[in-house]
């Protein structure tokens, strides 16, 4: 299906994609096994491990933690931009981590759950191409170390030096494995059925309309997912649910030719490509 190539190129990006019908197992892909940096999509395995530790009685998701004003990670949403101490339950932090990609919430949860535990969970599911090496603070620190200054990164040569864009040195996955992780959540296999139901609710509350959801502009189609963004990199993975019960896990990863931060066409092609893949699966 080289149609994907043309679609991505017309939007100024290179893209990799995998889509799977959650009930029949039919698949379609474009570079499905390409190692890709996940950026904030890594917050999904973190969410899964949080739920599994709650299921195992290792932590209480309703227990409250205080995030001091000085403990904020870089980020434009949620607790990351709040000025004062915040006291919130672990599961509410998880909601912010998914719904608005709150970096501070993610780092607090990573501290509670432990990245080693997240990686052990991924290995346990056989997702050996998926690995979480850094918290969001680690991702931004790595960029500052590579370039010597903070965001924004707009110089093409500087961007070429960023280790966060090299899957060997950062949080990574493949389109196939990321779609598989969503399949586990939607089939109640990632954690307890109760926890999986809550994860689906939270993933369905994500606020961004510009990527995956933009490809399915229908009131009777549900789109749940999690985005990921770094310089030139735009991702989203999630599940699309049709009114006839069809459910499709889709993971789309892109790199843009231009370093411009605001590229609506590059965001939208994630939805267009996902739509093309789902159409193919429904034929």
């Amino acid at each position: 299906m080289s149609d994907f190539d043309g679609l991505f190129r017309a939007a100024g990006v290179t893209g990799w994609l995998h889509a799977a019908d959650l009930d029949t197992g039919r698949e379609v892909g474009h570079g499905s096994d390409e190692p890709v940096p996940t950026a904030s999509v890594f917050k999904v395995p973190l969410l899964v491990e949080l739920c599994r530790q709650a299921d195992a009685g290792l932590l209480d998701p309703a227990s409250r933690v205080t995030v001091g004003a000085a403990e904020r990670a870089f980020g434009p949403t949620g607790v990351s931009v709040m000025l004062d101490d915040v006291t919130m339950s672990l599961r509410d932090l998880a909601y912010l981590m998914i719904a608005v990609s709150d970096n501070t919430a993610a780092d607090v949860l990573a501290g509670v759950v432990g990245l080693d535990a997240v990686n052990a969970m991924l290995a346990g599911f056989g997702l050996h191409g998926t690995h979480v090496a850094h918290t969001t603070r680690g991702l931004y620190q790595s960029m500052a170390d590579d370039i010597g200054h903070g965001w924004p990164y707009l110089d093409v040569e500087e961007i070429a030096r960023l280790r966060v864009l090299d899957p060997r040195h950062t949080n990574r996955s493949t389109p196939r494995e990321t779609a598989a992780l969503f399949g586990l959540i939607w089939r109640d296999e990632a954690a307890s059925a109760e926890s999986c139901a809550w994860m689906r609710t939270v993933l369905n509350l994500q606020v961004w309309p510009h990527r995956l959801a933009s490809g399915f502009p229908y009131d009777d189609v549900e789109v749940s997912g999690k985005t990921g963004t770094l310089p030139t990199l735009r991702n989203e993975a999630g599940v699309v649910e049709y009114p006839d019960g069809g459910r499709y896990a889709v993971a789309v990863f892109t790199r843009s030719f231009s370093p411009a931060v605001n590229q609506p066409r590059a965001d939208a092609v994630i939805g267009t490509a996902a739509r093309m893949a789902v159409d193919h699966l429904r034929r």
């Binding site: 990609s101 985005t227 963004t229 931060v261």
Partner: protein, 305 residues
């Protein structure tokens, strides 16, 4: 010993304060350069450089003699210059082939007013070829685009020219006010040839990319035929060309930098340089280089999540 040649070596070493760098600039190996400086020191009976430390420094005598050495070299160059041109002299000038005809005409007229005894002979040459032509003496002075680097060349005042977009009059983007570079997505781009304008070519494409415009194809050339045909867009100053529309670029992201360039300064060269600065400002929409305003990058939450 050829004293003038030795003085030229002395001047370059004094400017670089590094024998290796000076040798590269002069296009000779380092050992013979060191030997020649030693011979000059013997000839003059003074030490010019202090090489005792790990760095090269001018001695007091060296500093004193440097000014004189420069004077001597300039006068010798003038002597050769005058001998070459005689009384009825010609100033050979390089101009970018895509400089508007009206601007070239104004340059010729303006120079004739100030120096009626010197005839101006303009040749259309791209920047990279002008550098070569200045070095081998084919032209005396040029109008070049920056960035350009060439050892031994001197540059006049840096001028900038803000670029807009030239498109076919019936192009869908031709109506309206300003354009943003990102609006050009999908358009093919016409640029001056990469070999002739390597600095401009690279800089403009980087700026386009940074602003979200990655041309599907870049055509190289000076003629606007492709633009007239609606097959490509080009950057340029505001220009009235039948069949073409010009639209300003939002935020002035593309500004070309020009200056005059020469190797040996003669009265005619300095005179032309002054006329060129004035003419380019009055007729080609150029301005003195100011501090470029920092570009704002909008941090919309969804673009970072």
């Amino acid at each position: 010993m050829d004293l003038v040649r030795h003085l030229r070596y002395f001047i370059v070493v004094a400017e670089e304060l590094h024998f290796g760098n000076a040798a590269i600039r002069l296009g000779i190996a380092q050992p013979p350069l060191s030997q020649r400086i030693k011979r000059l020191e013997q000839e003059l009976g003074v030490r010019l450089f202090d090489r005792s430390a790990r760095q090269v420094r001018l001695t007091g005598a060296g500093r004193l003699l440097l000014t004189e050495a420069r004077e001597i070299v300039i006068r010798v160059d003038r002597l050769h210059e005058l001998a070459r041109h005689g009384e009825d002299s010609v100033l050979k000038v390089g101009v970018p082939p895509d400089l508007a005809a009206a601007v070239i005409a104004a340059l010729v007229a303006g120079f004739r007013e100030t120096r009626p005894e010197v005839r101006l002979a303009p040749a259309e040459i791209w920047t990279a070829d002008q550098v070569a032509a200045l070095t081998d003496g084919t032209i005396d002075v040029g109008i070049v685009r920056h960035p350009v680097t060439a050892p031994g060349l001197h540059f006049g005042r840096l001028l900038t020219q803000s670029q807009g977009v030239l498109l076919a009059a019936d192009h869908p983007l031709a109506r309206g006010g300003e354009l943003h570079l990102a609006d050009l997505a999908g358009q093919e781009l016409l640029l001056p040839p990469r070999e002739g304008e390597p600095g401009l070519y690279a800089e403009v494409l980087v700026e386009c990319r940074r602003h979200g415009y990655v041309p599907a194809q870049v055509h190289e050339g000076a003629g606007l035929g492709l633009v007239l045909a609606g097959a490509a867009v080009a950057f340029g100053p505001r220009e009235e060309v039948p069949g073409l529309a010009w639209r300003p670029l939002l935020g002035s992201p593309i500004a070309l930098r020009f200056s005059t360039a020469w190797r040996a300064a003669t009265d005619a060269v300095t005179g032309f340089s002054a006329v060129a600065v004035r003419t380019l400002k009055e007729r080609a929409g150029m301005a003195d280089e100011g501090a470029t305003p920092a570009r704002r990058v909008s941090r919309r939450p969804g673009s970072l999540a």
